[in-house]
């Protein structure tokens, strides 16, 4: 099993979800996060006082899938979250040791 963690632009969330559903992804977790990358931040000015905002709002998606599905999920996210402009985000992939559905007690890929 793989955990696929993607940091994307907030307005791309619906596109990503729509791209993942046909692949058989049964669920995912979304968080509102802030961070910085090569995009750096932006400048805000209030009554002449300038503030450099270095952390920009992003969406973090976490989805756990079976190993054979991982490549197509990564590809779908990369395609649907792409704008070509700086700040599109990143995808990270981690190995998952175990999984369990709390309600039924099913484990590993059956729990996904």
């Amino acid at each position: 099993m793989k955990l696929i963690m993607a940091i994307i632009k907030p307005f791309k969330l619906d596109d990503v979800r729509e791209a993942l559903t046909p692949l058989g992804v049964q669920g995912l977790t979304v968080s509102e996060v802030k961070g910085f990358g090569r995009q750096k931040g932006q400048t805000e000015i209030y009554r002449g006082a300038e503030y450099h905002v270095s952390f920009l709002p992003k969406i973090k998606i976490e989805v756990v899938v079976a190993d054979d599905l991982a490549d197509s999920v990564i590809e779908a996210i990369a395609k649907s979250a792409h704008t070509g402009k700086i700040g599109d985000g990143k995808i990270f992939v981690l190995d998952i040791a175990r999984a369990m559905r709390i309600r039924t007690g099913e484990t590993d890929t059956e729990a996904l």
């Binding site: 000015i45 209030y46 009554r47 002449g48």
Partner: protein, 450 residues
């Protein structure tokens, strides 16, 4: 200036009143229900300026950790000053006394109900028994309440200068002292017929000196004495929620019709013109600030346009009731551009941390308005049968306005410094550094908005 504000203002509408002016006349003038209804309405409007208007305006500009503490300041000042005004503030401001301070004849509002017979009150005569007595057409309870709402908003305006860092206990003590020893005397000078500025002929229709220069300069002294916020100039101090500030500024705008048009103390032509010039100057100032910012900084900001509107409201305050719409446009534009410069450049040049620009907007806007009142006063608005010439703007009137401005700046500057030192000796002024970092909401009040 209450001579023009009351005497000549009412004279236009009710010349007969002047004949029956003495309070002990055989057939006392009756209360005008229309005027009284407007004054009751105005009183409610001006109270709305402080809670929730100013509370929202200020709370929207501070950081998330200080939102409740900032609203708490406006709300608590409202309650404290109400009691202070009832106990002694009103008496010190509006009884005859001498040229500098009233007396204690209305201590605890004693005697305010003594003329009521079968539920009907007599008209209130300001300065009764003196040569300069000014009759109104409303009961004293209404006049006292209307003036109370002015006494409330003035110290609440100061709070913008020391936002994010003053102890709550210190704020309470300072505001009670300030209301008694600074607000009441200056209100007496300008608006009581026995006051020295009133006698001199300084014009201040609705409180350019008494309220705005007074609060603005006190705010500047507070900012200088308390020092900068921790992290000023390095940390991000961007406003938490400017939508609050927009709502607050809009409520200030609407409430200000009570402030300015209400200061006619009657529902007539002068109140109507005061309302018209208030609207016009406010819009002009908002646009002045917006375009100045757009041109010099590249973007017209939301905080900028609402700040400009407040600057315009401030500047037209002393002039409303004396000027015509054409002058109002000029006063507004001047206030918008000058206050923009004061809040965005002057403050950074001089290096003080007036957190929410109590001085930059109220102090500077008040000075612009007070001076331009002396330039643009239109005689017919203040002319009466007794004084058919009215008051025209010109070099002589401008000189009087300068005296009023300078006297107010000096008195409030010195007294604010003294009262801050007394408060500092009693409880200290600032919260500890780590408390400031943690945020006043949780540290001072044990609550948070999130």
């Amino acid at each position: 200036m209450m001579r023009p504000r009351l005497n000549w203002g009412l004279g236009v509408l009710l010349p007969a009143l002047l004949v029956a002016a003495p309070a002990f006349a055989d057939d006392p003038p009756k209360i005008d229900t229309g005027d009284t209804a407007w004054m009751l309405t105005s009183t409610a409007l001006v109270l709305m300026m402080t809670i929730p208007g100013l509370a929202l305006f200020y709370a929207g500009m501070v950081r998330k950790k200080n939102v409740l503490a900032t609203m708490m300041q406006s709300f608590t000042i409202c309650c404290l000053v109400t009691v202070v005004w009832m106990v002694a503030g009103y008496s010190l401001a509006f009884t005859n006394g001498n040229a500098y301070i009233g007396d204690f004849s209305r201590f605890l509002l004693s005697g305010i109900g003594s003329n009521i017979v079968k539920g009907v009150d007599q008209v209130f005569v300001l300065g009764a028994g003196t040569d300069a007595a000014v009759p109104t057409t409303v009961p004293e309870s209404v006049f006292m309440m209307f003036q109370m709402t002015f006494a409330i908003i003035t110290p609440a305006l100061i709070a913008g200068a020391f936002a994010d860092r003053m102890k709550f206990s210190a704020m309470c003590i300072f505001m009670v002292l300030w209301s008694l020893f600074v607000y009441s005397p200056i209100a007496h000078w300008v608006w009581a017929p026995t006051g020295w500025m009133f006698a001199l002929g300084v014009l201040d229709f609705a409180g350019g000196t008494v309220v705005h220069i007074n609060a603005g300069v006190a705010g500047l002294v507070c900012a200088l004495v308390l020092g900068k916020r921790n992290g000023y100039g390095t940390n991000n101090m961007a406003p938490y929620n400017l939508a609050y500030a927009v709502i607050g500024a809009s409520m200030l705008w609407v409430g200000w019709f009570g402030f300015n048009a209400g200061s006619a103390l009657s529902a007539g032509g002068r109140a109507g013109m005061a309302m018209a010039v208030t609207q016009i100057a406010t819009a002009a100032a908002a646009l002045g600030w917006m375009f100045a910012e757009w041109i010099t900084k590249g973007k017209p900001s939301v905080l900028g346009v609402v700040s400009g509107a407040v600057a315009g409201l401030v500047a037209i305050t002393p002039a409303s009731g004396f000027v015509l719409p054409g002058s109002a446009i000029i006063i507004g534009l001047a206030a918008g551009v000058v206050c923009f410069w004061a809040a965005t450049s002057l403050k950074h040049m001089l290096g003080y941390d007036d957190s929410l620009d109590a001085f930059g907007v109220h102090g500077v806007g008040g000075i612009v308005g007070a001076l331009l009142t002396g330039v643009f006063a239109y005689a017919a608005l203040s002319a009466t049968d007794a004084t058919p010439d009215g008051i025209s703007g010109g070099i002589d009137q401008l000189k009087l306005q300068v005296i009023g401005v300078v006297a107010t700046i000096v008195y409030t500057g010195v007294m604010t410094l003294i009262l801050l030192m007394i408060t500092k000796a009693l409880v200290g002024l600032r919260v500890a550094e780590e408390e400031e970092r943690e945020g006043l909401d949780i540290v001072l009040h044990g609550e948070q908005i999130f």
